[in-house]
Structures are given as structure tokens and as C-alpha cells.
């Protein structure tokens, strides 16, 4: 099917928002990197707003969106609800910061926000799990969206930490964030392989949605360059170099920024690949 760019933007920025806020919540539990919380929460809110705006661009009649309130079982209802709750929670968190709320209260507000956030990151992928589209008909897809949000969050947090330029903060948090990033990239790799296996064994086999098309067909450049090289190897390398301080010409900030850019590009590449593989069982018109 054709690439729905508005939905690419929606799911990408929602993932970035969830990941970034996840990083903020991690610092709350960790009790470190307090400097990143305000910019992190603002960045998460801005990314969520951009994502929400992108989804509106996809609709033919956005003014009718309230009609969705009457049908709580649809995927779009779940996405809208979780997006709203998540956005409200970030706002509540920002207000709590502004009012100098206690550590415990702030932590509680932030943690509660992760419930709709995680559900949202999962739901934006789960919406595509349709029996009519064999390449999408797997729960691996929403899990990839969720883990992708985590990977984006790791790099987003790295950028926020590096931006503080506070030596102590950077010294005490970078190694741990990098370790989590590498684990997340490892999980992402496993999920990508699992998705290829799904493509190979999905029912109603068709060249338009085959693993061969991804590995050696017209989608191969997107897969090997966009996902493997830019999405997995480059971020992993940047993370490990950053951790070991061997990147002489790369400051921690530029390394983290480059890593974030890589995972965002890979996020777009994966979504483009997903739409390209999303042919229906039969496509008559």
C-alpha cells in the first residue's frame, strides 16, 4: 500500500515522546540528572503535540473526531484516549515541577504517566495488526513500536544529559544510560529478526510482502542501510564509543545527537518498510 506519511510522523513522534518522558521518569527513580527533567518533559510534550498534529493531517474530516468517543473498542479511540491522558500527565508533571512539589509527588505523577505512555506506544503499532494485511498480522509489530520508543528515549536522554554540561551528571549517568541503550538495541535486533521470520511464514504468501523482498529485493537498501546500518550498527557503535570515550573527534553531545538522528531515521525507514509490505490478502482496486 502507499506510504501514509502522516501516520509515519504520528507514530514516530509519539514514540519519541514516550521514550523521552520514559527517560525523565527514569531520572526520577534514579534520583540523578535532575537538570534533564524540565527540558525532557517539555520535549516529550512538544513531540506528542507534533505526533497528534500529524495524525490529524491523516484524517479526511478531523472535525468529526468526537464521533470516535462513542466507539471505545476501536484502535483510534484507544490511541486518542491514551494520547490525551499522557499529554495531561506531562502537563501535570510540569505544573508539579513549577510548584516545587515534593520528590515523591513528582515521581508518582511521572510514573502514573508511563501507564498511558506505554499503552500508547503499543497501541499505535497494535492498530496495524490486521488479518487483512498478512505482513502486519503479528504482535511483534506493536512490540517493535514500543521498543523503538525505548531506543529513541535512550538517545533522547543521552542528548539531554550531554546538554547539561554538568561534569558530575554526565560522569554518573552516561555509562548506565549507554548500557541500557545497548540492551535496547539488542532487543530491537532480535525483534527485527523475529519480524523477518514472521514475513517468511505469514499466510497468503506473496512477493509484495516477502522476506526476500526485504533482504534482497527493492526494499533491501531500506532494510540494510536504513535499519541495519543506520538503525542498529551506527547507534550501537556511537553508544559504545561514547561509553569508552574513544571517540576523539566526537563530543558526548554530538555523539548522542548523531545517535538520536540515526534512530529517528531508522524509525522512518521501518515505518516506510512496513507500509510498503502492507498489501492486503487480495488487492482488487
Amino acid at each position: 500500500m502507499s506510504i501514509e506519511w502522516a501516520l509515519v510522523g504520528f507514530t514516530l513522534f509519539v514514540g519519541l515522546s514516550v521514550g523521552t518522558f520514559g527517560g525523565v521518569v527514569a531520572t526520577e527513580w534514579w534520583g540523578k540528572a535532575t537538570e534533564v527533567r524540565l527540558p525532557g518533559a517539555i520535549a516529550a510534550l512538544v513531540a506528542l503535540a507534533i505526533g497528534g498534529f500529524s495524525s490529524v493531517l491523516h484524517l479526511g474530516h478531523p472535525e468529526r473526531i468526537f464521533g470516535a468517543l462513542g466507539h471505545p473498542t476501536s484502535g483510534i479511540f484507544m490511541e486518542s484516549l491514551m494520547l490525551g491522558l499522557f499529554g495531561l500527565d506531562i502537563l501535570a508533571y510540569l505544573i508539579a515541577m513549577r510548584r516545587d512539589a515534593s520528590d515523591q509527588r513528582r515521581k508518582t505523577i511521572a510514573t502514573i504517566g508511563m501507564v498511558p505512555a506505554i499503552l500508547l506506544a503499543f497501541a499505535v503499532g497494535d492498530t496495524y495488526v490486521l488479518a487483512s494485511r498478512p505482513a502486519w498480522d503479528t504482535l511483534i509489530l506493536p512490540v517493535i513500536y514500543l521498543v523503538s520508543a525505548g531506543v529513541m528515549g535512550c538517545f533522547s536522554l543521552s542528548v539531554l544529559i550531554a546538554r547539561t554540561k554538568v561534569v558530575e551528571t554526565i560522569a554518573t549517568t552516561t555509562a548506565a544510560v549507554n548500557r541500557v541503550t545497548v540492551y535496547a538495541l539488542g532487543v530491537q535486533t532480535v525483534l527485527l529478526i523475529a519480524y523477518l521470520v514472521h514475513l517468511a511464514i505469514a499466510p497468503y504468501a506473496d512477493a509484495s510482502r516477502s522476506a526476500t523482498r526485504v533482504l534482497a529485493g527493492d526494499l533491501a537498501p531500506l532494510f540494510w542501510i536504513g535499519l541495519v546500518l543506520i538503525g542498529l550498527l551506527a547507534p550501537a557503535m556511537l553508544t559504545t564509543l561514547l561509553g569508552r570515550k574513544k571517540a576523539e573527534n566526537l563530543t558526548p553531545l554530538s555523539s548522542a545527537q548523531l545517535g538520536l538522528l540515526c534512530v529517528l531515521v531508522a524509525g522512518v525507514a521501518f515505518r516506510v518498510m512496513m507500509f510498503s509490505l502492507g498489501s492486503s490478502i487480495r488487492h482488487f482496486f
Binding site: 483510534i76 490486521l130 482488487f284
Partner: protein
């Protein structure tokens, strides 16, 4: 499966000559926009090895599923199933999210770029509700199309299916949506192809 009323089409592929008259009649009756279809005739084949080649024509249309995925995923209830089994779209409340297009296993729904809503075959309810037949059925020069209620043993569709025999009655792949449209194709004409038809890539 046939206890509830289920208005649908039965298409006799032994009789279809691939004239595309049903497409034209449908467009005229329903004012279907240029480049959009409610109903499209595809060629299947030729398959086999020369000189033993087979080909038939497959008029494709909304399959009026018993358990339509398009209805399940619609966020506003714009896609709905009427009491007589017809799957319809209320364009007044359609959000234009195109989720139903993604959920349809056959790609028989279209997005109207001008009205910003999704459209599909309506089984010409404007005609059938007053006792007439859908435009494609009325205008089929090969008398290959039949309209009626599958639950009614005396309807046109039930009668022709009974005459054809179960071995010659086919339907499109079922992904849990249970399509109700039936195709009649006897082996003497061609072998039913479960695989792809020409043009089946998008």
C-alpha cells in the same frame, strides 16, 4: 451462517464475458468518481501450458462479509451492517481515517479525494430498497450476476447456487471475515485459482 438475512451477489463466471458492462453501469448509477471503483472486472490467467490454457474473468466487489473487519475497526460507526446484511458507509459521520481500507482483505474500498470519505459498493440500496435489482445485475449482458438473500432458499442467489452444485461454488480467501459473495465456476470453463489474479499487486 445463513440464519440471518444476508443480501449479497452471486456471480456466474461461466457466463461472464469480461465486457466491463457492470463497471460502467455501476459508475453511472452511483456517480462513482474517475479512477474509483465500486466494482471491477479482472482477468484471471491465462494459466496452464500452451495449448491447454485457461482464463476467466473475475468481477470483484465488496464481499458483504458476515463478520466485516471494516465495521469492527471503524472508529465512528460510519461503516455498519444493516439488518439485511448489507455493509454500508454513512458518509455523514465518516472520519476519513481509512482504517477500514486497511482492514479490508480485498482492497475493495476507495477514498474519495473530493469528499474526503471512504466509499464502496452499496449493493445499490437506492434501487433494491424499492424492489429493483442492483445496476450491475440489471445491466449484465451475460446474465451472470444475481442478487438476493442467501438466507432465503427461494431467492435468486440461493436458487442458482443450488443448481450449480457445491463443487462449483467458490469464494475469496477468508481471513475470519467470512465473505458472502459467491462465484460459480465449473471445471469445464476453467479451474478456480486461489492464487493471484493479474493486476493483483499494488
Amino acid at each position: 451462517m445463513t440464519e440471518k438475512p444476508q443480501k449479497t451477489l452471486v456471480i456466474d463466471l461461466d457466463r461472464c464475458i469480461g465486457c466491463h458492462g457492470c463497471e460502467v453501469a455501476c459508475k453511472q448509477e452511483n456517480g462513482v468518481a474517475l479512477g474509483v471503483y465500486y466494482n471491477k472486472v479482472l482477468s484471471v490467467g491465462p494459466v496452464g501450458k500452451f495449448p491447454d490454457l485457461e482464463q476467466y474473468f473475475l468481477p470483484t466487489v465488496c464481499q458483504e462479509c458476515y463478520d466485516p473487519e471494516c465495521v469492527k475497526v471503524c472508529p465512528t460507526g460510519a461503516s455498519y451492517k444493516r439488518a439485511d446484511g448489507t455493509v454500508l458507509i454513512n458518509k455523514e459521520i465518516c472520519l476519513g481515517c481509512r482504517y477500514c481500507i486497511m482492514a479490508c482483505p480485498y482492497g475493495v474500498r476507495s477514498f474519495n479525494q473530493e469528499k474526503k470519505v471512504v466509499e464502496k459498493c452499496t449493493l445499490c440500496t437506492q434501487l433494491t430498497d424499492i424492489g429493483e435489482k442492483p445496476a450491475c445485475v440489471k445491466n449484465c449482458c451475460g446474465k451472470a450476476r444475481f442478487f438476493g438473500d442467501l438466507a432465503d432458499p427461494n431467492s435468486d442467489v440461493s436458487r442458482v447456487l443450488a443448481e450449480a452444485g457445491s463443487d462449483s461454488v467458490h469464494s475469496l480467501p477468508d481471513a475470519g471475515n467470512h465473505p458472502s459473495v459467491r462465484y460459480i465456476l465449473h471445471r469445464k470453463t476453467a479451474t478456480w485459482q486461489d492464487g493471484h489474479v493479474r493486476g493483483d499487486f499494488s
